[in-house]
Subunit: 325 residues, 2 copies
């Protein structure tokens, strides 16, 4: 259960856009003739890997803290996160002079842990396979009077994440399809709110790792399906169930959920490095990898794709892109 | 001697900007609070590594071919290049339906050779240490009636390269300093033409590899100094002398030449990958590496930096950034 159960709508995305203005990067939209030629589509990549803290998560994190009353902000915030939400919340906290405690899995990428600490946050580790991060987060919130900012199931988080799709559509015009990675559903729900308002008729599609298809199962069954922690290189999409706020929005406004293999993610990472000279983390490649598969239905369409993050250790990057010599 | 000996001025940069409009990418200008904090300066990175063909060279190449009479274009073009000019000319030729022959060093990075061939150009290899590429280029031009498009010492090439600085200053406003990599001088001369017109008082600084400081020697002595082929990881700045067109512009409009070590280039590459999630080739890091050194004089200034290219093999990238596991 979220501590902010009211579902967001498009107005919340507009408010979020005002709050993050001049603080979050308005990330570039990149295109590649070569990739368009390969996909037979006109693809617009919204580069949230180039966002502050290296991922779209900064949008929702900053929006959430900025929305708190001054008194709550002074006490501090707490979050549990597989990585990018942690860094984002740590950076947003520092910018808003709010103390932050982050509950992180002990197997989170070293780079993400280092960045979170580097932004001045306190890190509390937990065992991803045996402990309940939500319980730990709620415990810390109660003990210390902190505001819990969950990674996705929260009105201001969802609204903040929706600003990326809003910027994209405002910049390039209406789209036939908009594809975004799907973990807990914050980015996809926010994107769907923005697209349904700004580009009616645009098909909104979530993409998750093959090994963790709880989103697809939930979308099809109409109920939130829980799965064991999936093993995938997409460490930002290892969530095991959609949120009680994100799922209804996705069910109502998204059109389909696709899945991709880890191998397809590595291929996409290599393509982005070689062809576009950008570093995209495995999770960030989900939507792109799906778009480049023959079954995506992208051919002949104007397609927006959110590259959600770029936080990957250079060692892992070399291994996955075949760059190690 | 160039086949187009007339020196360019700012008007030629404006004409070039019109010619490349809608064809070249208007590349993003990225900023990083972390890097600003480290440098104590406000730095604007003009990301020509995200340009079509992976480098600023596309601007000058396209402008040069577009400036040819239709009859000349139909006969074809020839160029000698250490890599990025080759790819750029090959792509520009294809877009303008002009046959292209490229004279490339046999030790050019595999990725650059493959890309050049991939764009449909004919490649003629030569030995960088024992053969004269200009002679080979001129020979091919005479034999086959081709137009020679040299990599830097050419009016339309210089004017085209100047459009990157023009876009940068038009986007972010006047600068205190503008720093660009220096090889043969096309980018630096073009940048100086743009900056002197659009941001009077802006100090324009060229940066070359320590091992190949012919530009610095020439700038100080007032005469074009020739050096042996330098050994450096900055393969795009292995030129051994400035051009007869580029040198006078640089002498008149640039304010200083700095040099950086290969180690500083590797460090900068790593920083761009980790902090900004972009891939910048060694040569592309020249200006940034200088800006981040204490002697650059950047502190407290508004500084524009041109990241000139991103064409580096992923194996080399992993080796230089320490990403190999």
């Amino acid at each position: 259960m979220s501590s902010h159960p009211a579902p967001p709508d498009y107005v919340d995305v507009v408010v979020a856009a005002e709050r993050i203005k001049g603080v979050a990067h308005r990330t570039p939209v990149l295109t590649s003739s070569r990739i368009n030629g390969f996909a037979g589509a006109e693809i617009f990549f919204k580069c949230e890997n180039l966002q502050r803290s290296g991922a779209f998560k900064f949008r929702g994190a900053f929006n959430s803290i900025a929305a708190l009353a001054a008194e709550q902000r002074a006490k501090g915030v707490v979050a549990y996160s597989s990585g990018n939400h942690a860094q984002a919340l740590a950076l947003a906290s520092r910018l808003l002079a709010t103390p932050a405690t982050i509950v992180m899995p002990s197997d989170a990428p070293a780079m993400k842990v280092a960045a979170t600490k580097g932004y001045g946050a306190e890190v509390r580790f937990y065992d991803r396979y045996n402990e309940d991060r939500e319980e730990i987060g709620r415990g810390l919130a109660e003990e210390r009077g902190l505001s819990l900012i969950p990674p996705y199931d929260h009105r201001e988080v969802i609204a903040g994440q929706g600003t990326a799709a809003k910027e994209l559509i405002e910049e390039v015009g209406p789209l036939d399809m908009l594809m975004a990675p799907l973990g807990g559903g914050g980015l996809l729900a926010g994107s769907a709110l923005a697209a349904s308002h700004l580009s009616p008729g645009c098909k909104v599609i979530g993409v998750e790792p093959e090994a963790g298809d709880d989103g697809l199962q939930s979308f099809r069954s109409g109920e939130i399906v829980r799965i064991p922690v999936p093993k995938t290189i997409a460490d930002g999409a290892m969530t095991t169930y959609l949120g009680t706020l994100t799922f209804p929005i996705i069910r109502r406004l998204a059109h389909d959920i696709l899945t991709v293999s880890d191998e397809a993610l590595s291929q996409a990472m290599r393509m982005f490095a070689q062809t576009m000279k950008i570093i995209v983390e495995p999770t960030g490649c989900l939507a792109a990898a799906a778009a480049l598969s023959r079954e995506s239905g992208c051919e002949g369409k104007r397609v927006g794709i959110i590259l959600s993050g770029g936080n990957v250790d250079l060692g892992t990057f070399a291994k996955l892109t075949g760059g190690e010599s």
